[in-house]
């Protein structure tokens, strides 16, 4: 490089970039694509890494680390005297925890968590000092009547709770005055003093005792010091959560990568236009003797500038979006896995680095590569329309071949697929194969239409053949639209199928009239009590034990084999006559689908479970649906469970009322038996509650769906504006020849409508394929839930209408631009190209 070249390079960069000063909206589109892609991707990354960081704190309770839990073997809770005895024996790491579910007047579930702040061991009460050090904590008010109920801000908003207000529960009890505040790891729970919680719940026992960091020696002494009913168990929640939530995070990442891809389509569009406009600039620069090397450097510089600006803005937007999405992700995680996710979001350097790297690679493909290609071409190109058409046809063919390769790869992956990640690779291959094949499909359909209109009036033929001029510009936008529409339809069908399957399953499973879950109630005694015979048709007292199977928390339930719900247990897969054999058989067991799909268990195989008498083998005769449960679960007849395990606890009671008996009669009997209001649910309430949890869980999916579609809409707008600006001189000539504005609009709108319609039509079967893969493969691999796929035309119609609306909006914008710019373009007719 000669000494003068650095200065010349500066001049060249300025000359190249001056284009964006003259066409600022072009810079806006380029940035919009980058920002949209980076923002959605980074939002999900931020949420994912934040959630993972929260799992690392999963063994913390309200800011205090809990390495172990002390629980009651019988499920009765921990007597206060046992706790005090441990503290007085010097086990200061032990602190009480009360957790409970109550319901609001509208029957929305509320989780309550309580502890004694003064008992949290010093130095383990959270960041920045001990529990009493929080500047915002008036703990005198916290520990003293009327106490305080701490609502995280998002929860307070949802419930409409104002500071100082006492929320009324369904049974009329009132929470302590609300404070809008949250402690670490509080999650979507209401935090209060342990004394307040015990009095609110009418209990005198703790749910569990948490144990702070202790040495193995102390843990052994503690275990030995526990009364017979209590047991010490290591807190494995951190490991469990990381394992259980992996699939969900993979799904979120896949959706965010899709968004990034759609964002890149916008960049492609924008760049295509910028290339067109800068051809003369590049040509002039070459003609005045700027070297190819200097131009290359200038192009690299431009790419770097855009990548930094786009990435920075995208990350900022991503941070904002992640804040908006976090509540629904938190809800999903808490509903599905009980994982508490904090509210503080941060951008970490790794996310920033990856975002910048992805932006650079994307820009290299979309901006730098085409610019360089152009640079290496002849200085004075032929520039004829026919050459352009030929190049376009060649590009379509290349894309089609690429699509074929991707499709073949997809078939290959499908046969080998074993993990969730491979599943998403497959989805990506399918989606992009379809997208790359789309331009050729559109061209073929267009050609067919042209032939069909061979004898039609000139205007019709002209309008249709003008589609050939639009197709190159619309190509990428249509691909983006196809991706967005397909993803939308696929996910819609998945969610709809899941919802229907869940509702049907709930109808079958929640057959009893009332469900009771109370530590106070002697469930079998209550069912057997002759005093209840007047109103009670049947009762099903379930028992259960919690253990670990294949390293995961697993519940084994003991069912009464004679009750209606057991007799009609819906099985997803079973051996012949499975239920009858299971009810009467020795060592036969039912397992949930998760144990089949995720645990690798098959019909007829044996499961080995750690029973009281040692490891015992049970033969699997059936798998039952168990939607929404991330854990493995087994069913044994109640008697078989009692034979196998000593520490069997009551896990709930289902009650069927005699015909004509009112719920009030049953509730009065329950209260008389010591059950607290809020510890029973009517059938309808449980179903409503389950569906509400379901809807909350999929709120994130819906949000991502909408955002992807918006990005696709933006891609469409940029494409059309590019067309408008590329062809403005052409349109001006037409106007000069007497073509009306209305006719001009038809020339633009009809091919566009044709392409969008074809894309939409292509998205319908593709969406079905996507949902089929999601339901039959990915969902099963991720969660272990199987369900029938239910295809419905409604989402497709809705999306069709939405696409039409977007097209209409885009046309309005284009028309207004046209109206504004056409006069000037006509004035310049003949002055330049």
């Amino acid at each position: 490089m000669t000494p003068a070249e650095p200065e010349r390079l500066g001049g060249v960069v300025r000359a190249l970039l001056s284009h964006y000063w003259r066409h600022p909206w072009q810079a806006v589109f380029l940035l919009a694509g980058l920002v949209a892609g980076v923002a959605l991707w980074s939002a999900v990354q931020i949420i994912n890494s934040h959630a993972r960081a929260s799992y690392a704190e999963a063994d913390f309770v309200l800011g205090a680390q809990a390495t172990h839990w002390i629980r009651s073997r019988s499920g009765d809770g921990i007597a206060q005297a046992d706790y005090i005895a441990l503290r007085r024996a010097g086990f200061r790491q032990v602190f009480p925890v009360v957790q409970a579910r109550v319901s609001t007047v509208d029957n929305a579930p509320l989780a309550i968590i309580a502890t004694d702040l003064l008992a949290l061991p010093e130095g383990m009460a959270g960041e920045g000092g001990d529990a009493l050090g929080d500047a915002d904590l008036d703990w005198l008010a916290f520990v003293r009547a009327p106490y305080q109920a701490w609502f995280p801000a998002a929860m307070a908003d949802e419930l409409g709770v104002a500071e100082g207000q006492q929320l009324t529960l369904r049974d009329g009890r009132r929470l302590p005055p609300a404070l809008i505040a949250a402690r670490e790891q509080q999650g979507r729970q209401i935090f209060m003093d342990v004394g307040a919680a015990l009095s609110l719940l009418g209990r005198d026992t703790f749910t569990a005792l948490a144990v702070g960091p202790i040495s193995p020696d102390t843990a052994a002494r503690l275990a030995a010091a526990l009364p017979g009913d209590l047991m010490l168990e290591a807190n494995q929640q951190r490991l469990d959560l990381t394992q259980l939530t992996a699939s969900l995070h993979t799904q979120l990442t896949a959706m965010s990568l899709l968004s990034f891809a759609v964002g890149l389509f916008i960049v492609f569009n924008a760049v295509r236009f910028s290339l067109w406009y800068r051809r003369p600039t590049l040509r002039t620069l070459r003609l005045v003797g700027v070297s190819v090397r200097a131009l290359t450097l200038a192009i690299v510089t431009e790419t770097l500038v855009w990548s930094v600006v786009g990435c920075a803005l995208g990350l900022l937007a991503g941070l904002g979006i992640s804040h908006a999405l976090l509540p629904s992700v938190s809800a999903s995680l808490q509903n599905l896995y009980g994982a508490v996710v904090g509210a503080d979001l941060l951008l970490d350097p790794v996310t920033i680095a990856i975002a910048w790297g992805m932006t650079l690679i994307g820009l290299a493909f979309a901006l730098a590569w085409p610019l360089l290609l152009q640079l290496r071409g002849p200085v004075l190109p032929g520039g004829s329309a026919s050459a352009g058409m030929l190049a376009e046809a060649r590009a379509r063919r290349v894309l089609l071949i690429g699509a074929g390769v991707l499709a073949l790869a997809a078939v290959g992956v499908y046969w080998q697929m074993a993990s969730v990640i491979e599943g998403f690779v497959l989805l990506g291959l399918v989606l992009f194969a379809a997208a790359w094949a789309l331009p050729q499909a559109l061209a073929s359909a267009h050609r067919l239409l042209g032939r069909a209109l061979a004898g039609a009036p000139l205007v019709q033929r002209w309008i249709v053949s003008d589609g050939w001029a639009q197709l190159p510009a619309l190509r990428t936008a249509m691909m983006a639209l196809l991706l967005a529409l397909t993803a939308n339809l696929g996910v819609e069908t998945l969610v709809g199928s899941f919802r229907t399957a869940l509702a049907g399953w709930l109808d079958q499973r929640i057959g009893a009239d009332i469900y009771v879950n109370s530590a106070q109630l002697d469930t079998r005694g209550f069912v057997a009590d002759p005093a209840n015979a007047g109103w009670l048709a049947t009762g099903h007292a379930r028992t259960g034990v919690t253990l670990r199977w294949q390293g995961r928390p697993t519940k084994v339930y003991g069912l009464d084999t004679t009750t209606p719900d057991t007799r009609a247990l819906p099985l997803a897969q079973s051996e012949p006559d499975a239920l009858a054999r299971w009810a009467g058989g020795e060592r036969l067991i039912l397992a949930n689908e998760q144990a089949h799909y995720l645990g690798g268990l098959r019909l007829g195989q044996t499961v080995t479970l750690p029973t009281y008498g040692g490891a015992t083998d049970y033969t699997v005769v059936g798998f039952f649906h168990d939607y929404g449960n991330p854990y493995y679960q087994f069913y044994l007849p109640r008697e078989a469970l009692a034979r196998g395990w000593r520490d069997v606890s009551s896990t709930g009671l289902a009650l069927w009322l005699k015909p004509g008996v009112s719920a009030e009669t049953a509730e009065a009997a329950l209260v008389a038996a010591g059950v607290q209001p809020g510890e029973w649910f009517a059938q309808g309430d449980i179903k409503r509650l389950s569906m509400r949890i379901f809807d909350r869980t999929f709120a994130m999916t819906a949000a991502m769906n909408t955002l992807t579609l918006l990005v696709a809409g933006a891609a469409l707008l940029t494409a059309l504006l590019a067309i408008l600006h590329e062809r403005l001189p052409e349109f001006a000539q037409w106007r000069a020849l007497g073509v009306t504005r209305r006719e001009l609009l038809r020339v633009i709108a009809v091919p566009l409508a044709l392409f969008v319609t074809l894309t939409w039509l292509a998205a319908i079967p593709l969406g079905a394929l996507l949902s089929w893969l999601l339901i039959h493969d990915l969902n099963v691999m991720s969660f272990g839930w199987s369900m029938p796929m239910l295809w419905s035309p409604t989402p497709a119609l809705k999306l069709g209408l939405l696409s039409a609306a977007i097209v209409a909006l885009v046309l309005v914008i284009v028309l207004s631009q046209l109206t504004r710019k056409l006069p000037q373009a006509m004035a310049q007719l003949g002055s330049a190209q």
Partner: protein, 363 residues
């Protein structure tokens, strides 16, 4: 009067006042609580137990000990009770009582301390008769009497890894401080009920790093309860409890006033337990040396303060005068409510040993 008292009050009133003037709360009127008036008749062992009508109360033990090699050791163990409201609702989780405890040990190698908190009413911390015997505890920190009286008794606690187990005994009666146990704290009438046991024979062991050390020495017990002890213009105090080699015990304190006219008081206790209250004009306290002491906190691990760690204590009426100097500088009680309290030597140990407490010295 003890420093932690003030700090506890600051704690209980919450962050707003802690950020402002923590002393302000001590000057609040104590309205609704029982008030301290002269002429109260003390009854033992009943008065060893809590007086929940009063806002604040403590059981405060220090001991100066020596090992077989003649090296100086020190122990401090304190249990504080605080009522959060005038109501005497003392049982269950709704109890208005809150407990705090501080403990420290000074060894030939240094000083270590610990603080604890607990709710009243649930057995986590209490002072009461258990099976007829006096018991005061918070977690496993435990002071028990052999009978309903505190003494003879046993003190067991831990500070970090150090395990302390001491037998306590005394054959002299409690000393009622001030006017028959009515201890005036200002000219405006602020006062507390206050009695001490300055002659306690202490023996037992401290186990450090698994190695037990046998220790013997003398201990000092303070019992005090009140509802409003500080006057508006009092900023902090300097407090001495000294075991003299001739068998006498001396307690003197100075409540420092804004205007330099400090409130002084004390008592001179004979070996047989008979005591004489010292008036302000009978006591002279002079700072001989101020030392820069490391006073680390979680907010500032590098913090230091200038503290008066060498004094001349004079009783002109008795023609007695001593030099009192800290055994080691580093006896900072750096908990949530920091102050200095530690072992002091009288005339370099020739005339006795004791404890000194310093509060209200800013950083």
């Amino acid at each position: 009067m003890k420093a932690v008292f003030l700090l506890l009050m600051a704690l209980l009133v919450g962050p707003a006042s802690a950020q402002g003037d923590p002393y302000q709360v001590l000057r609040s009127t104590g309205e609704g609580y029982a008030s301290v008036v002269p002429g109260r008749v003390f009854e033992f062992p009943a008065d060893h137990l809590p007086h929940p009508d009063y806002r604040i109360e403590w059981w405060y033990l220090t001991a100066n000990l020596k090992d077989d090699a003649g090296r100086h050791w020190g122990l401090q163990w304190t249990l504080f009770r605080q009522a959060m409201s005038p109501a005497t609702d003392t049982e269950g989780w709704d109890s208005n009582q809150i407990w705090m405890a501080h403990a420290a040990i000074t060894t030939p190698d240094g000083h270590r301390h610990e603080q604890r908190f607990a709710r009243g009413g649930v057995g986590h911390a209490e002072v009461r008769l258990e099976n007829g015997a006096f018991a005061a505890w918070l977690d496993d920190w435990l002071l028990t009497g052999d009978g309903a009286a505190m003494l003879p008794g046993r003190l067991r606690f831990t500070v970090g890894e150090a395990v302390i187990d001491m037998q306590l005994a005394s054959d002299t009666p409690p000393v009622l401080q001030g006017k028959s146990g009515y201890s005036q704290k200002s000219a405006q009438g602020q006062a507390s009920y206050y009695y001490s046991q300055p002659h306690i024979a202490v023996s037992g062991s401290v186990t450090l790093d698994g190695k037990p050390t046998t220790l013997t020495g003398t201990g000092w017990l303070d019992r005090e309860w009140s509802s409003q002890p500080l006057a508006d213009n009092q900023q902090g105090w300097d407090w001495f409890s000294l075991h003299l080699a001739d068998g006498h015990a001396l307690m003197v304190y100075r409540l420092r006033h804004d205007d330099g006219k400090h409130w002084l008081s004390g008592s001179w206790v004979a070996p047989d337990g008979s005591a004489r209250t010292l008036a302000a004009d009978e006591i002279e306290l002079t700072v001989l040396d101020t030392r820069r002491v490391r006073t680390p906190s979680s907010a500032n691990p590098e913090a230091t303060r200038d503290l008066p760690l060498a004094w001349r204590v004079s009783l002109p009426g008795l023609k007695r005068e001593w030099t009192v100097r800290a055994l080691i500088d580093d006896q900072w009680m750096g908990g949530r409510f920091p102050y200095w309290e530690g072992v002091v030597l009288v005339d370099e140990g020739a005339s006795g040993v004791g404890y000194l407490e310093l509060t209200g010295y800013g950083r």
